[in-house]
Amino acid sequence: MIKASNLTRVFNGLIAVDQVSFHVDRGEVFGFLGHNGAGKTTTVRMLTGQLRPTSGHASIDGHDVVKGRTAIKPMIGVVFENQNLYERMSGRENLRFFAELHGVGDKRVDELLEMVGLSDRAKDKIKIYSNGMKQRLLVARALLNHPKALFLDEPTRGLDPTSARGIRRTIRELGEQGTTVFLTTHYMEEADQLCHRVAFISEGKLIALDTPRALKLQYGLRKVSVLLDDQSQHELTLDNPADANQMADWMGAGRLLTVHSQEATLEDVFVHLAGRELQ
């Protein structure tokens, strides 16, 4: 559905995105992860036809994002990093305006307001909306045209846990309904929960691409941490037969209080690969 091949963007001699290649399958929720300034938003802007690549190619559903820009527009929805809504207009007016641009009727506007739980606040001006409400409206706006590919740029940034959970639930439902989702975030747990596959980008370069589980297994420690009834803590290696016997003895004697795997988190993997923290 989405394909990037050696995608590169240079701004005044500074390489923002450096020969990035990947593909996203139809119906896949794809996470594009990286620290601030890694090149996530620039990649999204190139994929959605907002920015010309300096070199390389990208396509959506077979249409080149530069030459076939007109063809890709009806197929995509974008949730921008900024909450770019018309503040002096109401929620409904915002959606109706964009519905007109897409040639979509008012029925779809009402459906989406209902879906994101803003029907009862639809007449309120955006300037009195909370961050969470604005973000939900942005998601609704991006879905007006029933997009085949949905791009979400940091959709839960700065949201309270409840609002973030609501947005994640919507993303999950969209993925289940077969919408291709391209999600950029620097929240690794979010990507872990939602994405079928994730790609890591750092300093404009793609440094890893796989399923969250595969990445965690590849870079995690094959160890467990054990807490016994005498409050003593022990580390056992999964590949050591002696450790396996020891574990069996403790279990048999009923001495185990807790057992924790030492599987890496996505953040651990990123730090390991990028050599820097996520921020």
């Binding site: 907002q50 010309r52 770019n84 018309y86």
Partner: protein, 365 residues
């Protein structure tokens, strides 16, 4: 070109401008000024002193005396007309022949003598009003023979020439001058400030990005802004004209000048908006751009000869120069003299449109 998107953008911006206090001030300010100045100068504007001699009390006397804009002196001899003019009690004297009304109604060609205190060009508005009054009496286009003369002794040809290249338009009455001034102000503010604000705000708040990922392109956005800009320019101008009896003289020429100037100034606004990416910069530089555009209005009453070529020549490149001159002459019923202004305005519209397209292509590249 996506007409549906263009109209949606135009409708959104038209309503949004009314919700934006700053833009609302820009829209209403020229109208407010026109009302305020109309009130402050009501005595000056109302008084057009005419002295008339009518041997058999023509109905023209009663019609003129009922006009708010006229202060009428009726005298009992043609000599008394000249006396009143010499005493500077009136600017125009009218001497009617006997049986004037009957002659007009019969379609004959009675001789009407107009005597001017000074230069006849100074009192064109009065002459027009008198002819309109005769039309009212006769119920048709008046067929009269107008004999004009001035109390001022005729000067030499050189003197006349020296007097001729006056300001942008030959002298117009104060009311027309105010109409020109407020219309120019309205078009300049709406075109060169409201329009770029609409565009720059979309860039500043990133809503333009959201529009451009829909099946809408930059040309649709710009066209929508042009429509709104021209519409507000026209609404402001027509309101000012309606409130100040500005539908006088050569109305067709007036409206054409206003329309072309609205398009030109709106395109200038788009060029400004295309160059600037945030509202802070626009607010800082906007007034610097507006000042040269307003200059022709500010200098409208100053004789061109006193300005010097260094100012006069660049001034004549500014679209508002042609608006001020064209509208001033049209209001004075001298629309025939504004053809060149109309042509220049039309050419400027084409050039500016080309410049907007060029800047748009540059942005997309």
């Amino acid at each position: 070109m996506n007409l549906r998107a263009t109209m949606a953008i135009a409708r959104k911006d038209f309503l949004d401008a009314l919700k934006n206090a700053r833009l609302l001030v820009i829209i209403l300010m020229p109208i407010g000024f026109s009302v305020l100045y109309g009130y402050l100068f009501r005595d000056t504007l109302d008084t057009m002193e005419i002295v008339i001699y009518s041997p058999d009390t023509s109905s023209m006397v009663s019609v003129l005396s009922e006009l708010d804009a006229v202060s009428l002196f009726v005298v009992d001899s043609p000599e008394a007309v000249e006396t009143k003019l010499e005493e500077e009690k009136a600017i125009v004297g009218v001497v009617l022949p006997p049986q004037f009304d009957l002659a007009v109604r019969a379609g004959e060609r009675p001789a009407l003598e107009l005597i001017y205190r000074e230069n006849p060009e100074d009192a064109r508005g009065t002459q027009r009003m008198i002819l309109q009054t005769i039309e009212q009496i006769s119920g048709r286009q008046p067929i009269v023979s107008v004999i004009e003369r001035s109390l001022q002794p005729p000067g030499s040809a050189e003197e006349a020439e020296a007097r001729e290249p006056m300001s942008f338009f030959r002298e117009i009455d104060l009311q027309s001058f105010f109409i020109v001034l407020w219309v120019m102000m309205g078009i300049t503010m709406n075109g060169s400030f409201l329009v770029p604000t609409l565009l720059v705000e979309e860039k500043d708040k990133k809503t333009l990005d959201a529009i451009l990922v829909t099946p809408t392109n930059y040309l649709d956005v710009l066209t929508g802004k042009v429509l709104v800009g021209v519409l507000y320019c026209l609404l402001t101008s027509l309101t000012v004209m309606a409130l100040n009896q500005g539908f006088a003289g050569d109305v067709g020429f007036s409206l054409t000048v206003v329309l072309l100037a609205s398009v030109a100034l709106t395109l200038i606004g788009l060029l400004i908006g295309g160059l600037i990416d945030n509202l802070t910069t626009l607010n800082t530089w906007g007034s610097f751009v507006m000042l040269p555009l307003m200059l022709p209005g500010i200098l409208a009453g100053v004789p061109l000869g006193t300005l010097g070529p260094a100012l006069t020549i660049p001034l004549q490149v500014v679209p508002t120069y042609h608006l001020v001159r064209g509208l001033g002459l049209s209001l004075s019923g001298e629309g025939g003299e504004v053809w060149m202004n109309l042509v220049i305005l039309a050419v400027e519209c084409v050039v500016l449109f080309g410049a907007v397209l060029w800047s748009m292509r540059r942005r997309e590249a």
